[in-house]
Symmetry: C2
Subunit: 168 residues, 2 copies
């Protein structure tokens, strides 16, 4: 079995995609919904817990950008900068849920302000780290991300999501 014997400050679920489209502003009376989209690359669903601090971000960014979870054309697993591919970061506080009976509780989740701040740091630092990789930045690949606190209306097209869980 898998041993899990430590406290978790952030949880990320990663999925490969061929195309993904995420709503970043819901439709209003006088405006259509706004969306961001990515082509082949990686979707990262992110949740922060109470006790998480900015100190966590460099390690998270380094792992997320460098872990070999993207399948190249030859079938080899490479990092998103080696692919090179797009990145979509989705805030997903529900990932912090813990079941109690038939209901989910979110008592361990970071507060809204703290979560929002950490999320902003994560997206900014990911962009910065990705740009240090010439192969990624010269390829025209992009980083896109959802609006914290919004409903994350998402469409996803994969050639195998190859779902992974990373905890920090």
């Amino acid at each position: 079995m898998a041993a899990l014997d430590r406290e978790v400050a952030a949880r990320v679920v990663l999925q490969q995609c061929l195309h993904a489209k995420l709503q970043v502003k819901p439709p209003a009376e006088d405006s259509d919904a706004e969306w961001v989209e990515i082509q082949r690359g990686m979707v990262m669903y992110v949740c922060f817990f109470k006790g998480a601090t900015k100190d966590l971000i460099p390690k998270m960014v380094s792992s997320l950008v460098n872990v070999k979870l993207s399948e190249s054309d030859s079938g080899k697993h490479v990092s998103i900068t080696e692919l090179p591919g797009d990145v979509l970061i989705v805030p997903q506080a529900t990932l912090g849920g813990k079941s109690k009976g038939r209901c989910m509780q979110y008592h361990s989740n970071a507060g809204k302000e703290q979560g929002m701040e950490l999320y902003a740091h994560l997206t900014a630092q990911c962009q910065k780290e990705l740009e240090t990789h010439a192969r990624w930045s010269e390829s025209g690949a992009v980083l896109r991300y959802g609006t914290y606190g919004n409903r994350q209306v998402l469409k996803l097209d994969t050639n195998g999501p190859y779902t992974h869980l990373l905890e920090f």
Copy 2:
């Protein structure tokens, strides 16, 4: 922070969907790919670890079928049988990965035969449990599932995936 201080025998990631389509047989020289699809409901990505046994299945099924993770039209969270909605179970051994440096290792995963057997039990018992709920079985809702060991080519359309992690 979230405390995790026990061994895990199975890991499930759940996402709400409006529509999902999963390849269950890849295309061959003389045949097209085969797919299953579901409408509004829940996608469950499942991974078993070493040490998991059949004894685990009843508890997993009870949780997965009864946990209130589906959003009803009124915005209230209800179980998949109360919605009522479709279920798509996706075998996803990659969920058992653990990062070591830049690579993922799967040393804690159940062996192929053991995983296949547990997966078959899970899908069969889920179907059975779902059918005991008149509201679900009379609604025409369906359970579909992927082929163990295949590449899980997946297309997903959500109104907010509302991603949750359950461990058993």
